[in-house]
């Protein structure tokens, strides 16, 4: 069997299929609840500071289909979503929600992906370090740092990091995506948001990793490896690490989702035009279609991340059987 075949044979296909099937009613529920919640709320997208004249309002309502009966708006919207068309934005003139998502999603995904990668690398390393030195000064300092990481909210670390690294030492950008012609995601303007978002995750991952490492180092197969006379390095890297890392895998899926939602605040602090800013602005401005689009994208991502984590878990742990 080739490596590919071996991996393919370990993926729980039936389980994956069923999870994807469950995802459909989940998304449908999310769309339905959000749709009717927004429509039932007092106030519409075109109630501004000034009252629009009746003709304009009627024209706008007709343009966005708001003059149709509610159930028809709902079915029209669902039909659009099925074709991956989230409709025109009700507030940003001339842009479709698809355009806005195409602008914002790469930014949010980049921050989220970089943060979780950083968190996994640093958190795992710190956890192994602490776990191998249980109840020593090194362990306590790492765990103290981790405790602080869990207890300090990102909207405190964010401004403090800005104050230190951007305003005082001018190493990194205060926020935003730079000014012309250097617009875009760069090391200069992405470092602080990524670190801010990663810190709590580093803390949680290192705590998880430490506990798991301690448990693994006490298990029978480690004693066997030592008894065989393997070097401590081989014992840790080849025998302890693969099994110690398993609990982490099931954490990373939901963590990815948490990082994505956490980027709401990060985008606000650092003034980044990602999905999160669109969502919050859309919700405040009653931009129905934008909010719905962002919500659906977020929900889909969360479902996907959780599924990928579960499949990875099945691939890595031969003992796991999904029925």
């Amino acid at each position: 069997m080739s490596a590919v075949q071996r991996i393919a044979s370990r993926i729980p296909w039936a389980y994956t299929g069923r999870r994807l099937l469950i995802a459909i009613p989940t998304l449908l529920l999310i769309i339905t609840v959000a749709f009717f919640m927004m429509r039932m709320a007092p106030g519409g997208p075109f109630d501004g500071e000034r009252k629009l004249n009746a003709a304009t309002e009627a024209a706008l309502n007709a343009k966005f289909g708001l003059d149709k009966p509610l159930w028809q708006q709902y079915t029209d919207y669902l039909w659009g979503v099925m074709q991956l068309d989230f409709g025109p934005s009700m507030k940003t003139l001339g842009k479709s929600v698809n355009d806005l998502i195409a602008d914002g999603l790469p930014i949010s995904l980049a921050i989220g992906f970089l943060s979780i990668t950083l968190a996994i690398i640093v958190g795992t390393a710190m956890g192994i370090f602490a776990g191998l030195r249980q109840n020593t000064a090194g362990d306590y300092s790492v765990m103290g740092f981790a405790m602080a990481g869990i207890s300090i909210p990102t909207f405190v670390t964010g401004p403090v990091l800005i104050l230190i690294f951007a305003l005082t030492f001018s190493v990194f950008a205060v926020g935003g995506l730079g000014t012309y012609p250097n617009i875009g995601m760069s090391f200069h303007n992405m470092t602080l948001p990524v670190i801010t978002l990663a810190l709590p995750q580093i803390a949680i991952i290192s705590r998880l990793m430490r506990a798991s490492m301690i448990e693994t180092m006490r298990s029978g197969h480690i004693r066997t490896a030592r008894a065989k006379g393997l070097s401590e390095r081989d014992v840790v890297l080849k025998h302890a690490l693969p099994s110690a890392v398993l609990p982490l895998v099931s954490y990373v899926g939901p963590a990815m989702a948490r990082v994505m939602t956490g980027s709401l605040v990060i985008e606000r602090i650092f003034g980044l035009p990602g999905m999160g800013s669109y969502f919050v602005d859309g919700a405040i401005n009653r931009d129905y279609t934008l909010v719905m689009g962002a919500l659906i994208i977020y929900a889909t991502l969360i479902v996907l991340f959780n599924l990928v984590a579960d499949i990875l878990y099945a691939l890595l742990d031969p003992k796991v059987k999904y029925d």
Binding site: F155, V280, A283, I284, A294
Partner: protein
């Protein structure tokens, strides 16, 4: 020498065991009180709680009183110990009220999630079969919901409202609780003492209340102490996005978000609420960790 000491120690242990003095709970409590970080945290948290509840009644300034002394630095003059905010209100008074609101949100939302989660999980685990399947699938579906977004939607749609914040956060946090309780219940329900209770005709909800719930208290207590900080963070997260409690009420999140705007010139406006929140969350997390280690000592 050491041997004899060991022996006397063991003798005492045997004696207390014979007298039946030490239950599992006594052991756990002893372990908890041996954990210095947890004990210190309990004291600090107790003081914080005391200040949040009683402080505003005794402090010379009211958190609503506006004055022309805008954005004062901390000073003993007029007893503005932490200075004043952008509207000249005493920062210490506002900090105490903010702390009170944040703690209240943490407690109430956690209690909401506790009640829903424990009932849901215990029923699902105990009844089992198809009911369990349906109930837990429902939890699975809700797990995939990006709840913070729904909370934001609710708050923008129906207006900012503290009760809504309580309920919304509580309704999100019960999911994990129900999973923990279900797992424990599944393990418990086939044990002999439950079977004995059932055989003697104890009604269904009485079994759940009297036999299942007391036995899941340990893991639930740990989860509760670790949920309170999560909830406090969630509330401050909303406040930071401008969706928190209404003026003139305030919360730690609102204060931090206001302070962050002025941090460059007036760092104390950020430092005071940020430190208060950090210490509160640290204490809660240390207590939660201590409880977990005390109730489940194998991870130490």
């Amino acid at each position: 020498m050491t041997d004899t000491m060991d022996l006397t120690g063991r003798k005492e242990a045997v004696e207390t065991a014979i007298q039946g003095g030490r239950s599992l709970w006594d052991d756990a409590r002893a372990r908890l009180f041996r954990n210095k970080a947890a004990v210190v945290s309990m004291w600090v948290l107790g003081i914080i709680f005391f200040i949040a509840v009683l402080g505003p009644f005794f402090w010379v300034h009211d958190y609503r009183t506006i004055s022309s002394n805008v954005e004062l630095a901390p000073t003993f003059e007029n007893l503005h110990l932490l200075g004043t905010d952008t509207q000249g209100r005493d920062s210490l008074a506002r900090l105490m009220i903010g702390l009170r609101i944040s703690l209240a949100v943490g407690l109430v939302a956690t209690i909401v999630s506790l009640i829903i989660g424990v009932t849901w999980g215990a029923v699902a685990g105990f009844v089992g079969g198809r009911v369990d399947n349906i109930m837990m699938r429902f939890v699975d579906v809700l797990y995939a919901m990006p709840f913070i977004f729904f909370v934001i939607l609710l708050l923008t749609v129906f207006g900012r409202n503290i009760i809504l914040i309580f309920a919304a956060i509580g309704a999100v946090e019960w999911l994990t609780m129900s999973r923990i309780v279900r797992g424990q219940t599944l393990a418990l329900k086939n044990m002999e003492f439950i079977e004995a209770a059932r055989a003697t005709g104890v009604p269904f909800f009485t079994i759940i209340r009297r036999h299942i719930i007391p036995n899941v208290v340990g893991p639930v207590a740990v989860y509760v102490t670790l949920t309170i900080p999560v909830v406090i963070l969630a509330e401050s997260f909303l406040s930071f996005l401008g969706l928190g409690v209404n003026e003139p009420l305030t919360s730690l999140g609102v204060l931090i978000s206001d302070g962050a705007k002025e941090m460059q010139d007036k760092p104390w406006m950020l430092a005071a609420p940020a430190l208060t929140m950090m210490v509160t969350l640290l204490c809660l997390n240390f207590i939660g960790d201590g409880l977990r280690d005390a109730l489940d000592p194998k991870e130490r």
